[in-house]
Symmetry: C2
Subunit: 96 residues, 2 copies
């Protein structure tokens, strides 16, 4: 099982993840992706969903038209782990 | 443009929409769909996204693993219109 990152490890990881930050009041990381339209936003979600399913690690996410708000945390570990960092990296790569 | 439904019209429409209800504090309707797993939840979202894009009327929705929380409202009309009712019906049909 992935181990929870320390606050320092989490901050270091976020340094390499443009747009991601700690979520206020939760042991989680988050990012708001903004696209051109719904087509592009849902296209991103579809690609990210396939990656998430393959990793067996799923996001909490909210979509309103061209915006996708993502929160990542590892439930079993009670916080942020390397699995969240890996999914965040994959999402950044998909968003391009 | 679709006209905003009166409170009475909205209640009548909700009578024919199992699982949907008025959203507290907003002029909107909502439903929480619960599926077996992420595969089924995101499959529902994908089918609903195609319908929404075709209708040019999009949901606000949040997905956490097997749960999809949907809120529908017509921004231009400042409330619930027949377009929301139509999308809600389509989502119920997709969820089966």
């Amino acid at each position: 099982m992935a181990e929870r990152l320390s606050a320092e490890e989490c901050r270091q990881a976020l340094g390499g993840l443009p747009g991601w930050s700690e979520v206020q009041g939760r042991d989680a990381i988050g990012k708001i992706f903004v696209f051109r339209d719904f087509n592009e936003a849902f296209g991103f979600m579809t690609r990210a969903a396939l990656v998430a399913e393959k990793m067996d690690h799923h996001p909490e996410w909210r979509n309103v038209y061209k915006t996708v708000e993502v929160v990542l945390s590892t439930h079993d570990a009670g916080g942020v782990t390397t699995r969240d960092i890996a999914l965040a990296k994959a999402m950044n790569a998909i968003a391009g």
